[in-house]
């Protein structure tokens, strides 16, 4: 298991909002508009699912949360710090926000699994036994300890996905953003990941197409479609509204049903 006890003293976080995204618009260089004014707030410690059809802009939004993409309209604030072009600010934001990319090949680049997992914490200044412990714990958590000395690009897709998750867990970020973490994982690994995530004292934003998984992990869910947030509600309520889901190419697997509360959550 990942223990967060050994974390460095928490920065003086005066802001109760972990993430605050306001009016973010973004077009890719080829002119394709991906985000058309996204507003979204995530209070500290909440676990939120980000749902939406293919091409909705979920990944584009995720890449804004630590300043990898920027340059459109709007602001992104992370625990009070606003993403800008300043190197020091960006470095601090990237320390706080850990992103697991949708494609594990975007995440892994060092010659061995262990080195890759150690890379983030080493950049945070950890050394020696502490660093080793971080690596061991993270690899343990995703069940990849026995592969620690292998080359990441020689792993199976699902194994790479697990290592990708470990690289971010090892950094003990305050805010954990996962883009489709469960895809290509075997069912047991999926459940194990859910248990780990549930046990972490972090703010969590998880992009997923697996609605039952979202329900299992997150109390609140958002739907992003065509670059805008179109719904924001407790996950159970949201998943109970089949009309809404169907409008956005979402649906529960056959035979799966949820009891919702009041359908009063749609965004105008």
């Amino acid at each position: 298991m990942i223990g967060y006890v050994d974390t460095a003293p928490a920065p003086a976080a005066t802001d109760a909002l972990s993430l605050d995204v306001r009016g973010v618009q973004y077009s890719y260089p080829d002119g394709h508009v991906a985000l058309r004014g996204v507003n979204l707030t995530v209070p500290r410690g909440e676990r939120i699912a980000l749902l939406g059809p293919n091409g909705a802009g979920k990944t584009t939004l995720v890449l804004h949360l630590n300043g990898i993409l920027a340059g459109g309209e709007g602001t992104v604030t992370v625990g009070g710090l606003t993403v800008n072009r300043d190197r020091a600010t960006l470095a601090e934001i990237r320390r706080r926000v850990g992103i697991v990319f949708q494609d594990p090949d975007d995440q892994l680049f060092l010659p061995t699994v262990a080195e890759d997992v150690a890379f983030g914490p080493a950049n945070l200044g950890l050394r020696g036994a502490e660093l080793a412990a971080r690596v061991t714990d993270a690899l343990d958590a995703v069940g990849m300890t026995e592969h620690r000395d292998r080359a990441p690009q020689h792993l199976s897709f699902g194994q790479r996905r697990r290592v990708a998750v470990a690289t971010v867990l090892a950094m003990h970020p305050e805010i954990l953003v996962l883009d489709e973490p469960s895809s290509n994982l075997d069912p047991a690994a999926r459940r194990e990941l859910a248990a780990i995530l549930r046990g972490l004292p972090v703010t969590l934003l998880m992009v997923t197409h697996d609605l039952p998984y979202a329900l299992e992990l997150c109390d609140r869910a958002l739907i992003l479609d065509a670059g805008q947030i179109v719904a924001d509600a407790p996950t159970a309520d949201l998943l109970a509204d089949t009309t809404l889901l169907a409008q956005h190419r979402l649906e529960l697997p056959y035979g799966f049903q949820v009891q919702g509360r009041a359908p009063s959550y749609r965004i105008p």
């Binding site: 630590n66 990898i68 190197r87 470095a91 990237r94 320390r95 850990g98 992103i99 990319f101 090949d105 975007d106 995440q107 892994l108 680049f109 060092l110 010659p111 890379f119 983030g120 950049n123 945070l124 690009q153 690289t167 971010v168 950094m171």
Partner: protein
Amino acid sequence: MGAGHAHVLYRDRTSPVHRLPPEVKIAAMVAFTIAVVATPREAFWAFGGYAVLVVLVAAVARVGLRWLATRSLIELPFVLFAFALPFLGSGERITWLGLELSVDGLYGGWNILAKGTLGVLASLLLAGTTTMRDLLLGLDRLHCPQILTQIATFMLRYLDVLIGEARRMRVARISRGDDPRFLWQLRGFAAGLGALFLRAFERGERVYLAMVSRGYQGRMPEAWRDAGAATARHWLVAATVPLAATGIAAAALVLG
């Protein structure tokens, strides 16, 4: 991997030159360059004539002269060499503004400057009006050995793979708290390059195998190769420029 569609030098517009099949453009460009190189260096007027031809083609191709001028800076090193020759050259010398210059060297410098520049301009006109993929298609239709076009095709594709993998590695690093100004600051230039090479290879290998799985056997599908191949008319149209150049070169040789 969007390889080979366009390259930095391609000017995306429509013009009669853009529409010409690539093989005739390549042939015309090569023939033109050979005519230029064969011209005696003393025939100054002939080089003026070539320059006029280049300007005419650029106008028809709707390629700006300023673009041509800036892009031709690539030959700057040759220009430096050309300017060194009047000092290095042997034989008869003249004095100009207090500098003692070799006559042969002056001619040599001019020769390199004129022929080099015209050659670069001709390449730029080809590059500006032809996508990389068409260029390879043209080489293929000119019966360039298949193994060469195959290597060239992969070269273009893997340029994209290299760039793509370099981008991925950069994103992976900055989002985990590293702050590199260059990709290779991790363990020195070469180590980063080695890692990038291996990574690009393994991605490229998988892409190649996926192509093979879809029936690739070393050449692009025939249906694509044959579409828009040159007709006799195309050859005639494109031949005007090298023919004019050959005329100039012949005249220059005869007139001495």
